[in-house]
């Protein structure tokens, strides 16, 4: 995936001020930054849920920002996991995972069910939960079902928008574990997160976003422990209270 000079303004405020980066197949990119830095908007622009004002995006050679491109078709290749899960309330867990396969990919019911079951097992959601409604699931379970829902579509890249921010601390681990496993198995991923430890362990590159710009990027360990920019140092000091971040 290639993102070039993405800009977005909401009213008077420019939220994305020219974001550019590449993601290679199998790579895991983490994005961190203070609230309001535009991280969520960035991910939504990549999936064209929000239309960027300027800039271009390519996925596997296809330019997504080209007006002649069928956006809905391209979105199938991008899996999106939301901070608030956004599971469909009127459907059971397994129906949630199946609906994209049935209505978007037009698969027959049994094939859709088969793929859905595989995806749910991959995120460690046991059969006993498949017929439960989202309201009956814990936050961690909901998010894992949401991941399965995105996964079942067999995307080329997964986008995670602060996947654990809405979860209790005890439930964060199980979701991060699933994301890690997917990343280790080669799933190209971009994760917006506040979990420094996770970024250090799983990501190939860490980008720090402040005020709509990427102010620093590099290997996670370098960015976290020996950041170059003052803003990055300030971010880690203030927001994350990471001990001994500067040398």
């Amino acid at each position: 995936m290639k993102v070039e000079n993405l800009r977005k303004r909401f009213g008077d405020e420019e939220v994305l001020k020219g974001i550019s980066f590449d993601v290679m197949r199998g790579e895991v990119k983490a994005i961190m930054g203070p609230s309001g830095a535009g991280k969520s908007t960035l991910l939504k622009c990549i999936d064209l849920l929000v239309k960027p004002d300027e800039g271009r995006i390519w996925l596997e050679g296809v330019e997504l920002t080209d007006p002649t491109v069928d956006v809905n078709k391209q979105r199938r290749k991008i899996g999106f996991v939301f901070q608030e899960f956004n599971l469909f309330h009127h459907l059971t867990a397994i129906e949630n995972v199946m609906i994209g396969l049935r209505k978007v990919k037009k698969l027959p019911k049994d094939k859709a069910r088969e793929l859905a079951e595989k995806a749910l097992l991959r995120v460690h959601i046991d059969e006993s939960l498949w017929n439960k409604y989202p309201a009956q699931l814990s936050g961690g379970q909901k998010q894992r079902v949401a991941i399965a829902r995105a996964l079942a579509m067999e995307p080329s890249i997964m986008l995670y928008d602060e996947p654990t921010s809405a979860l209790d601390p005890q439930l964060t681990g199980e979701v991060l574990q699933v994301i890690k496993e997917l990343a280790d198995s080669g799933m190209t991923s971009i994760i917006v997160t506040h979990e420094v430890g996770f970024a250090l362990e799983v990501a190939d590159e860490l980008m720090i976003m402040v005020g709509g710009r990427i102010i620093e990027r590099g290997r996670p360990a370098e960015v976290v422990y020996s950041p170059e920019s003052e803003s990055t140092k300030a971010f880690f000091r203030k927001v994350l209270r990471v001990e001994g971040t500067t040398r």
Partner: protein, 222 residues
Amino acid sequence: MTNIQSLLKYLPFIFEGSLWSLGLVAAGLGLGFTIGIFMSLGEVYGPSYVRKLIEFYTWFFRGTPLLVQLFLFHWSIFPALGLRTSPLETSILVLGMRSGAYQSQIFRGSIKSIEEGQMLAAKALGMTTWQSAFHIILPQALRKAIPQLSNEYSIILKDSAICFILGVMEIMTRTRYVTIATGIAFIPYLIAGCLYILLTYLGAKIFDTIHARVKMQGLISG
């Protein structure tokens, strides 16, 4: 035969009117539902000229009394269009169009009450706006609208009594006929009133049952 005896003979005749009244209600609700769904989708997802048309339609049907609409359509509008409708047909059409205006507002409200994240998630899977609306938003919006639909049922039931003015053979027309035939007014109208109360109660019960069965698990105003 005394008047009381002939009154008793006429009771089944009045009760039969319930079938007609319920028929009017069912047809009106059904037609109104179809019109309401399309209009609400048009209002929420459609271009602005569609919205303007819908606004006009709603304004007209909600702004004029049913009585006026019945006469207007039966004696002016349908004939002008070359349609010769029976009183029953006119009543069903007018009740349906009128209910459609009200139901479109009900559905518009419940569609808008579905949080944006649902639409985002549907689109993220690759659904078009239409697919998202039909498979994700509407199923939830309709479930939320059931209490208001129950209310609409009561309203149409009461409106059906006004169709008496065109001579449709529902409860009120028959009751009036009986009062003229027997010369007794008090009992027939009392019976008619009780029938409406009974039908209102039964309808509400049915909607409550439907609501309980399709309610989305765990959501409070499901």
